[in-house]
Amino acid sequence: MFGLTPLETEALRLSLLVSGWAVAGSLPLGLACAWLLARRDFPGKTVVDGLIHLPLVLPPVVVGYALLVTFGRRGVIGGWLYDWFGITVAFTWKGAAIASAVIAFPLLVRAIRLSLEGVDRGLEQAARTLGCGPVRTFFTVTLPLVMPGVITGVILAFARSLSEFGATITFVSNIPGETQTLPIALYALTQVPGGDEAALRLCVISVVVAFAALTVSELLSRRVQARLRA
């Protein structure tokens, strides 16, 4: 594929797989959190808000280590996942996706929340008087109106996932073909003598992927914005 070496193909595939799942998996929860923060007042809201934003300010290594402790085979959640479903996430690509999701989550929530706060509540009221319950109103009116925010959040989170390094390497280590994403492969190459040229190639691949993601997001949100202009 475009003259890529097997190592590069594998790292690129893993990066896209991990980032894709990280974003897709966290999107429903991200929507729910954004909605709660934008629309509801509840005791402990500040704490929840803080917790969601924590990965933004913590060193990723801390997040990775916390994940290792909780999601490891003997961790609280990891042990439960293994006992009941036979699922292991530590040292697998699934773990890498979880690490990326946690790190990128604040970006996702923030973008959607801002967009939700900008939605005209009057339109939701109108939908209610026209016979839509709260849930249907959310899916037929609110969600389409926050689509630009959702797209921005998804792309930001996807881009952040692509560049995820610290939490990933701490939680799932560097296993070629399993957890060795682009940044980790790049890091590994810089650690061996004579890896400079290959590292440079990975650099270029990373730039191309990131640029493509940004372009797609820009085009998408332009199209959606044009449709929504009131």
Binding site: L123, A126, R128, T129, L130, G131, C132, L228, R229, A230
Partner: protein, 364 residues
């Protein structure tokens, strides 16, 4: 039939409203801040009364005693907001069908094509709301509310955000609604010209309370309600039928229970029901029947009441064949005529004073 009796406290503002709205258009009229919008928000379920009861056609929507409080989507009412509130992500057709799709086919009482035709939005169906003019947006919003097959249509100053040209364009559509679709309308407004044009029943709101309610003609002819019906609007409203036009002289003849009125020519067809606004200052009273006079309308009348209005004015209410007519004369004139209730007099109205703007067609 909407029946409502509610109390609600909003900060320092205490609302205590009782009203009923039957067939036709019921106008909820009052100054801004008198609580009009709160009333229809409570009917729609967008605001919650502290106590009371709301029912439509016998179906209870809210009752604090039995703890009933239906969600807005369960109330089956149409709500036309002041700001159209069209869904920007849907086409005009999508907006129109939004409420309709939530109504089971068997319960749909309003026909899509009829709405599109009456509101004249057929050529706009595939457009986005952003590409419509203000008047078109509001027409689509009305259509959207109607297509939800509502038991009553609530309209919150639907013309307030439009300029006068758009307003004039939209008024006939709204006045056609109650007749075409047989849905009662509760119409909130603080513009008397809209109320005169549209309303059958008038509910006057003042500081969170209903100050008076009744047929429009009756309330408008009551000088006691003048502080609420508006200082510059003082005048009676008379229902009449167009009997004929005299194009050569540019006048129209209208018949009403008190006789015949000659007015500046109207564009309403012969046989049309109209409503004429007669300003209290434009009517004169003569005790003897005047002869050889330029005034074209000389109507035999009886004095119903005489009340001083301020230091130099006197409000006189006449009964012209049962139709109340409100007249303002100076205190000086009253000093010379000594009008008393029960006196037989003649009401003098110049045809010219009743021009096109004062004669409005009434649907049906």
């Amino acid at each position: 039939m909407l029946e409502l009796s509610v109390r609600r406290r909003q900060g320092d503002f205490q609302m205590d409203v009782k009203l009923a709205a039957g067939p036709g258009v019921t106008a909820l009229y009052g100054r801004s801040g008198s609580g009009k919008t709160s009333v229809i928000n409570m009917v729609a379920g967008l605001a919650r009364p502290d106590s009371g009861r709301i029912s439509v056609d016998g179906r209870v929507l809210f009752d604090s005693e039995s703890g009933i409080d239906l969600a807005p989507e369960q109330r089956r009412l149409g709500y036309v907001f002041q700001d159209h509130r069209l869904f920007p992500h849907l086409s005009v057709r999508g907006n129109l069908e939004f409420g309709r799709n939530r109504v089971p086919v068997a319960e749909r009482t309003v026909d899509f094509h009829q709405v599109v035709e009456v509101l004249g939005v057929g050529h706009l169906l595939d457009r986005r709301p952003s590409l419509l003019s203000g008047g078109e947006k509001q027409r689509v919003a009305i259509g959207r509310a109607l297509l939800a097959s509502p038991r009553i249509l609530l309209m919150d100053e639907p013309l307030a955000s439009l300029d006068s040209a758009r307003k004039a364009e939209l008024l006939p559509f709204i006045s056609a609604l109650a007749g075409e679709f047989a849905i009662p309308i509760l119409y909130v407004s603080h513009a008397m010209d809209e109320v005169l044009r549209l309303a059958d029943t008038l509910v006057l709101m003042d500081q969170g309370r209903v100050a008076a309610a009744g047929p429009l003609e009756q309330l408008m002819s009551d000088p006691g309600l003048r502080p609420l019906t508006g200082r510059y609007e003082a005048g009676a409203v008379v229902s009449a039928v167009v009997a004929g036009h005299d194009t050569a002289y540019g006048v129209s003849r209208l018949t009403f229970p008190g006789g015949t009125l000659l007015v500046s020519q109207t564009d309403q067809p012969v046989g049309a029901k109209v409503r004429v606004r007669i300003h209290a200052r434009d009517v004169a009273i003569s005790i003897e029947p005047p002869e050889r006079i330029s005034v074209r309308n000389v109507l035999p009348a009886m004095v119903t009441s005489v009340t001083p209005a301020g230091s130099f004015l006197v409000d006189v209410v006449l009964s012209v064949g049962g139709t109340p007519l409100w007249v303002q004369i100076t205190a000086l004139a009253q000093a010379q005529l000594s009008l008393k209730s029960g006196m037989r007099v003649h009401a003098l109205i110049k045809a010219l004073t009743m021009a096109r703007g004062d004669v409005a067609g009434v649907r049906r």
